[in-house]
């Protein structure tokens, strides 16, 4: 063990902490970005040309905001919004500070994914609901979100996996977590076993998310 993992063996508590930090960052930013992304995706769908609440101004605005935010490379976004992060959290270092860029970085991606998932829903089904007297809110909750649920889960999985990737990048600016360990210890000190173990833990997390997501989506599909 000691010959295989000469450095990791002395860092067990650091690894446990880093794993929790990664889970914490992923979980909180998933939840917050999930809410914003879902809402934005739904607004995009209902306000699009031919949507149930057609609004070309709102659609154009959201569409552009999403496009611009998605075009900013994450590593630059981290730096650019640092002042905003400091204003919000009081610091730019640590896991909580990392949440701000993570949320801003991932929610437009999720919004677009949600939009794509909901576009798949047969417009005829929406029309049938309208014809039966449903209001826009009823159609959003009882038709779009329900009919689209398996696909929403699938795109959520993709998003969470991307987000795990982003948390490691945030490690570059001292966010803590597995990415931070891999870069500031594994890479900087040439302690390769640290980098590899960090990677393996991340892979395990990704597999778990993928597995649970696929299972859920399949179960909900009729």
């Amino acid at each position: 063990m000691a010959s295989w993992l000469p450095n990791v063996i002395h860092m067990q508590s650091e690894f446990v902490q880093a794993t929790w930090q990664t889970i914490y960052m992923t979980l909180i930013s998933s939840l917050v970005a999930g809410v914003f992304g879902l809402a934005t995706g739904i607004f995009l769908i209902v306000s699009q040309p031919g949507g149930i609440l057609e609004d070309s101004f709102l659609y154009g605005l959201l569409d552009k905001v999403v496009n611009i935010l998605r075009s900013i490379p994450f590593i630059i976004l981290l730096a650019v919004i640092a002042p905003f992060t400091r204003y919000l959290v009081g610091t730019t270092i640590g896991t909580t500070a990392a949440l701000v860029p993570l949320i801003i970085g991932i929610f437009p991606f999720y919004a677009r994914q949600i939009q794509n998932a909901l576009t798949e829903i047969d417009p005829g089904v929406v029309e049938a609901a309208e014809a039966s007297g449903s209001s826009p809110t009823e159609i959003i909750f009882r038709v779009y979100l329900r009919e689209g649920l398996p696909d929403i889960i699938r795109v959520s999985v993709v998003t969470i996996i991307s987000l795990i990737g982003l948390t490691t990048m945030a490690g570059a600016i001292g966010s803590g977590g597995l990415g931070d360990i891999a870069i500031s210890i594994g890479y900087a000190r040439f302690e390769n076993d640290v980098t590899i173990v960090a990677m393996i833990i991340i892979l395990v997390m990704v597999f778990i998310v993928q597995f649970v997501g696929d299972w859920l989506a399949k179960r909900l599909e009729h």
């Binding site: 029309e127 049938a128 609901a129 309208e130 014809a131 039966s132 007297g133 449903s134 009729h222």
Partner: protein, 355 residues
């Protein structure tokens, strides 16, 4: 005069297609009496789907008046309009069921708007499924059903809020002939049992013939001809109407087959190829044998079809008349006197001799 449950007045619908303005519906009036089954026929793109969507305002007209159930729909606030829509059921070509809900759930869906409890909703949905003969399968999902069964579920769903009107948008167009017939029969039953007014749009005159009392023919956004089913079938005025009827009665294909057959392209002078349309009383008389007895003209029947509409019988026949040319001319005059429409089918040109 009976009450008009649907009264569309001077309806125009225009779309913007890029920079171009496209007129989908032009100056259409449509009145449908309570309890009627009204057919709207036309090829795809004729504007029928757009027109019926004006009835429940899924399509807002550019101009015109929309009165349904004595309510001016265009004057209603959104919530009142949604309430009005619950009384206008609609079924679609592709059924439009939600695949995430069981068929019971699909039928229950429109009842979410009501104050019924969960139990009452499910009870009502089950009853509706029984009405369409699918209560045994209530826990299945739409993908487990055949097309005809899906349409039955869609009908049950459309009836959930006890509507006065049912709009059928090409509801049988994706179904095979046998299933089409069973769906049309179901619609007819519902019309009789519940007093449901039905507006049925289709490109198949066949479907109209089965159940409609009135029919309107649409072309390029306009109603070009309308009337009772009997009058439209017996004396169609527009070429388009004739085309639809010829397809529905199989006369069209038959005429084509006969006129393309070399055997009938070079008839001798004492032979004449004719198409006869019999209406009403003339179908009950032994006209062909009269021709032989009185005029010495023999009729060789190549095609015959009898259509039974509500109160009228319509007959269609293609035959070769054989006899002296003068006798044939006299025989044709005799036919016309007896209210038979005669159309001479010549090899090159088809000339019409109306009676």
């Amino acid at each position: 005069m009976t009450e008009n449950i649907i009264d569309l007045n001077q309806i125009n619908v225009e779309f913007k297609d890029g920079e171009k303005q496209v007129k989908a519906v032009t100056d259409v009036d449509l009145q449908v009496e309570k309890g009627d089954i009204y057919g709207i026929v036309g090829y795809s793109g004729a504007g029928k789907s757009t027109l019926v969507r004006v009835i429940n305002l899924l399509q807002k007209p550019t101009s015109g008046k929309v009165k349904v159930n004595d309510q001016d729909l265009l004057a209603l606030k959104p919530e009142a309009l949604r309430q009005a829509r619950t009384k206008i059921g609609m079924i679609f070509q592709h059924f439009n069921l939600m695949k995430s809900r069981t068929i019971l759930g699909n039928v229950e869906y429109p009842l979410f708007k009501t104050k019924l409890s969960k139990d009452e909703r499910l009870k009502k949905a089950t009853e509706l499924l029984r009405l369409v003969g699918l209560d045994q399968r209530k826990n299945d999902y739409p993908r487990q059903l055949s097309g005809g069964q899906k349409q039955r579920v869609a009908i049950a769903r459309a009836l959930a809020n006890d509507p006065d009107i049912l709009i059928s948008d090409e509801a049988t167009s994706a179904l095979d002939p046998k299933t089409t017939l069973s769906i049309l029969n179901l619609l007819k039953q519902l019309n009789q049992k519940l007093g449901l007014t039905i507006v049925l749009i289709t490109h198949e005159m066949q479907a109209v013939k089965e159940i409609c009392n009135h029919v309107a023919v649409m072309q390029k956004g306009e109603v070009v001809e309308r009337g009772t089913i009997e009058s439209i079938f017996s004396t169609p005025k527009k070429l388009l109407t004739q085309e639809f009827i010829n397809i529905a009665t199989n006369v069209g294909p038959a005429v084509q087959k006969v006129t393309e057959n070399p055997k009938f392209q070079h008839l001798s002078p004492d032979q004449q190829l004719v198409q006869l349309n019999f209406i009403g009383k003339s179908t009950e008389e032994p006209i062909i044998s009269t021709l032989a007895k009185q005029f010495n003209v023999d009729g060789n029947i190549l095609f015959a079809n009898v259509e039974q509409l509500h109160s009228e019988t319509l007959g269609f026949m293609i035959l070769v008349l054989a006899g002296k040319p003068t006798d044939i001319t006299e025989a044709i005059s005799f036919l016309k006197v007896n209210q038979v429409r005669v159309k001479l089918l010549n090899q090159a040109t088809e000339s019409e001799v109306t009676g």
